[in-house]
Symmetry: C2
DNA sequence: TAGGATTTCCTACAACTGTTAGGCAACTCG
DNA sequence: CGAGTTGCCTAACAGTTGTAGGAAATCCTA
């Protein structure tokens, strides 16, 4: 079915690799074309434009992240699951900073502008939901009731993403203790908060 | 002292305003020049290039943020100070999303490449330190000892920046409860963690 | 009041990026 | 073998970054 060579998936995958090498923002159409050994107009056979390229990378990478995270979450619950989940995301971000950047650099379109949206935004939204579901699974395994699940997910996501973002930005590089040590401590504290949240919402009152 | 008109500060201030209108990434040299009613080469009298423009915006905005935050922190300590600090940052981010973006879009140069760095990175580093000192002040007011101050700052910064980033990205827009309600709850939980950290490090043991 | 110094701003130009248009070539399937 | 499909190309244009060199406006000083 047609001439062999690159296809859309291969282009996006190469773009994701390139993002890790030179940074997400530096992945432009012309740079990517040079890197692939083709001319830039050729890329328009695979993508519709620069913004499509970016959201496609985001969607692709969000799927990879969900794969890696769910693989790490194979077993365990409660604290073990939290550690597996959080470490998987952090390892992913440190191994592939360009990919992780792609994850954060996307805004949700305010109201999905009719049918003129690039073809990759639906994929990106679906991949985003996959990741959200994994976060929800962690929270559920703590036994947190539905009323507080949303809050728990937001709390956990904020802390994890915030820590990783700051660490990647180099904010923790110039002071002791190591970013490693405080990460473990932060997840510990997060675990305590989630346990407390579960106890609070299940009617168990630890005080008295 | 020369012909009157724009100077560097006015250019950067206009660029920051423009970032809030059209987004930090959309503030390019040519767009900024058009917005100011001048030709783009003229901007090179005030800035050395596109990267200098970006770091200069970051430095300028970090100073504004530190001003706003320290004004809000005029009085109070402990929980009150934390709420004032956190709300000041979040209000700033929601009022000026483009400015807040500028805050996060910067990497610390790995080793300050000799003397070839643009002239604004020193300013940005200094402004970053101002903000870091304010965070430290919050933590200190909880009575957390020096050993744990770094950890406490990282924990607090991660949660606050993470929450604001996700909220600004629209991640909290499609589910209940409101981003407002869970923010208050998150700061509450953070307060509890800091109180616990102070108790732990000061030798007080609440259990038994 | 004239002149010099300083600073803002300009036009002209070169290089690169994003994008469209139209066409050639290679492979698969009937 | 022919037709359809698909990957890739050249040509061309608009817009952006950045450089070079020069003109005008203002301040300071003599």
């Amino acid at each position: 079915m047609g001439r062999p060579g690159l296809n859309r998936t291969a282009v996006i995958a190469a773009a994701a690799d390139l993002a890790d090498e030179i940074g997400f923002d530096a992945v432009t159409i012309s740079v990517l074309a040079r890197h692939l050994g083709i001319k830039s107009p050729t890329l328009y056979s695979h993508i519709t434009g620069a913004t499509d390229l970016r959201t496609a990378i985001t969607a692709y990478v969000l799927d990879e992240l969900a794969d890696a995270t769910s693989a790490a979450m194979a077993a365990g619950e409660g604290r073990d699951l939290l550690v597996a989940y959080a470490d998987a995301i952090r390892d992913f971000a440190r191994r592939s900073p360009g990919r992780y950047d792609a994850t954060t650099r996307q805004r949700v379109p305010p109201a999905a502008e009719s049918t003129s949206a690039p073809p990759s935004v639906d994929t990106a939204i679906a991949a985003g939901r996959r990741n959200a579901d994994l976060a929800l699974a962690v929270v559920r395994s703590y036994g947190i009731t539905e009323t507080n699940q949303t809050y728990a997910v937001r709390l956990m996501s904020s802390l994890i993403h915030g820590y990783i973002t700051l660490e990647l930005a180099g904010s923790f590089a110039h002071s002791e203790p190591s970013a490693e040590a405080t990460w473990i401590e932060a997840i510990d504290d997060l675990d305590r908060l989630l346990v407390g949240l579960a106890a609070r919402t299940s009617g168990i009152n630890l005080v008295r």
